[in-house]
Amino acid sequence: MSGESEKAVFEVPVGPQHPALKEPILLLFKIEGDIIDDVMARPAYTHRGIEKATEARNYIQNIYLCERVCGICSGIHTLVYTQGVERLAGVEPPPRAKYIRVIFLELERIHSHALWLGVAAHELGFDTLFYYVWRDRELVMDLLELVTGNRVNYAMSTVGGARRDISDEAAHQIKKGMEIFRRRLDVYTGVVEKDPTVRKRVVDVGKLSPHKAVELCAVGPTLRATGVKRDVRADDPYQAYDEIPFNVATYPTGDVLAQIMVRVMEMYEAANIIDYALDHMPKGPIRTKVPWNIAPNEVISRGEAPRGELFYYFKSNGTEKPERVKIRTPTLANLPAVCEMLKGYHIAEIPIVFASIDPCLSCTGRFAFIDERHDRSWVWTGEQLRAYRRRYYKWQNR
């Protein structure tokens, strides 16, 4: 009966296929009783080679390739890409284009957060809330469809401006939609704040201290849920965000409830930003001509995706194709933080705590090797990758 010397630690793998995780990731848990002792995350089951593929396409083709890095935040990916290429080419989009971009980005933020709220409810086993939130998310999806033409890949932002204008009629409809959405949001805020079963599952679960969050380089709502006021839109304003007043939503507690509340508050903020932007949208052209002779240069571009800071690095070599495009998606930055959040909680809390960072794992696949035991890391070149592919298929067909 020496409880201290014999710790019954066993390993539980969750994923890469598991009903709680919609996308492939392996979380290897060290469990002591019912409590999580340690966790190791292994992403990159869906390496799609997008960064490499950008080198084979010209700057226009890459707009649509980068749009497909993520299915939910496709708008911000095109925006950050086009913003970077605009910096490379030295063009400035017209002011009306900036406002149009802000409007559809904020609509996208609402739809992404609403989607997340539904998923979080589903992870809590609260399927009714899930259906209700997704039903009202359709409102925003319809508005996005109205403005951009399609539901998922908006293809709205292009180098030098926006591809489609927002008519006065559409603006009126968006405003009306935001009014309805705000009222629906009030209902869900009430549910999350008052429902006893939801509160039992989210209060004081998955706690992260602000100190630790900053140390682990958490970004976006995950960081803001710990009370740290950090938002690319406010700290390094891009597009029209420096002309639009808005609050950076924070919540002090750092648990799953805080994650929910921060995202709910951001939805309210986004609705306000859309209203303001529609009212103050300047008249004028929506595109400028882009001189397509891009000199060798290096730039970075970043923006606040619904999940946090999205970062692009560009290197041009004077041709029509980029030499290197590096993408850092927010989920990758949040993975160390979520591993920390999971420690010390029950197995039953794995789904909701892991879902609370709004993981978007298929955007996260990167190819780098890290050997912990020998403390070295390396990256494969294209030639090595091809050699591996030959070996792999030989092994498969043996």
Binding site: P19, G125, D127, T128, T197, P351
Partner: protein, 332 residues
């Protein structure tokens, strides 16, 4: 002779196996349809009128599917548990008054059958544990342990409230309790808190939200059911439907008078039994579905905590309340 022939009909057709099977599928349909309605969905839609035949179609489809037996399972338990669970659920239903046309009481009614039904309810929970444990799957094992934990939580308050009804009526024969409750308005209204407690307990027994912890999809795949497929899964699903029927029928009988109720004019008493029974049980199933739509899933420790802290105390308080009323002579 006539009496025996009627008995065979009662056993096999109405309200025996055939009717019970129909009833189980009907309740599954009500449950799914109402749950969907509460979530702005249609639910089953195309199989039969308003999707009425969907549960039956699902059952037949599952029967036709491949039945996989993993190499590591305990074959004996793996085969026994679905059959036994189905058999037990059917067995218990013969002691609950459904539509007692022939003898005015349930088919197998005897003094003390309430105890037997409570025992069967516990056995069903225990069989779920055995089914999960025998699967030797990680998720099944966790689900099985959670089932057992949950059983510890809801079983005692459930037994207490069910026996409270017997106490109030002064008998342990479910049919007689139902008759007494139906004829005694004071007793019926005194038993209303017990009705609420028993509905919560049955929600846990049936492993539905907020107590679907042993089957928590997002945490442990399908819990104790994970390894079952094909015929065995079909039997388990059917047994679960029968369990829902049992829960609805038992709650209706003990707290609402079951098939007995005020005579409806111009209608023979047997038909009024049927109408009263269907009305009461359908309402109970809809209430169960409403609870399912209303909550998030609890954690297992929170569930046990809730049962012992609140449910059990409420159940005991209700039993004392009924005793006081009996002693004071309010309930004749």
């Amino acid at each position: 002779m006539m009496r025996e022939a009627l008995g065979v009909v009662e056993l096999l057709v109405f309200p025996g196996f055939l009717f019970l099977s129909w009833l189980a599928l009907y309740f599954e349909w009500v449950d799914r349809k109402f749950y969907a309605k509460l979530q702005y969905r249609y639910g089953p839609l195309y199989t039969g009128p308003k999707g009425f035949l969907q549960p039956f179609a699902d059952f037949v489809k599952l029967l036709a599917k491949e039945d996989i037996v993993p190499a590591a399972v305990d074959r004996f338990l793996f085969t026994l548990t679905p059959i036994l669970m189905l058999a037990l659920a059917f067995y218990a239903l013969f002691y609950v008054p459904i539509v007692p046309m022939v003898r005015n009481v349930a088919f197998g009614a005897f003094e003390g059958d309430l105890i037997l039904v409570i025992f069967v309810l516990t056995m069903v929970g225990f069989l779920k544990f055995l089914a999960g444990w025998g699967s030797t799957n990680r998720f099944s094992a966790v689900g099985a342990v959670r089932t057992a934990f949950q059983l510890l939580g809801y079983e005692i308050p459930l037994a207490v409230v069910l026996l409270t009804a017997g106490m109030g009526a002064g008998t342990l024969n479910i049919s007689l309790i139902a008759q007494k409750v139906a004829s005694n308005g004071i007793l019926a209204s005194a038993l209303l808190p017990a009705l609420a407690i028993s509905i919560v307990c049955f929600q846990a027994e049936l492993e539905r939200i907020p107590f679907d912890i042993p089957e928590a999809e997002q945490e442990i795949v399908a819990g104790w059911l994970t390894e079952f497929s094909g015929r065995r899964l079909a039997l388990f699903r059917f047994a679960t439907d029968l369990e829902l029927t049992l829960a609805a029928a038992l709650t209706a009988a003990l707290f609402l008078g079951g098939p007995y109720g005020p005579a409806i004019p111009l209608i023979p008493v047997q038909v009024s039994y049927f109408l009263w029974f269907m009305f009461k049980t359908t309402v109970i199933v809809m209430v169960l579905a409403n609870i399912r739509a209303l909550f998030a899933r609890l954690r297992i420790d929170q569930m046990v905590h809730f049962s012992w802290r609140h449910l059990l105390i409420a159940a005991v308080a209700e039993a004392i309340f009924i005793q006081v009323l009996l002693a004071a002579g309010v309930i004749a």
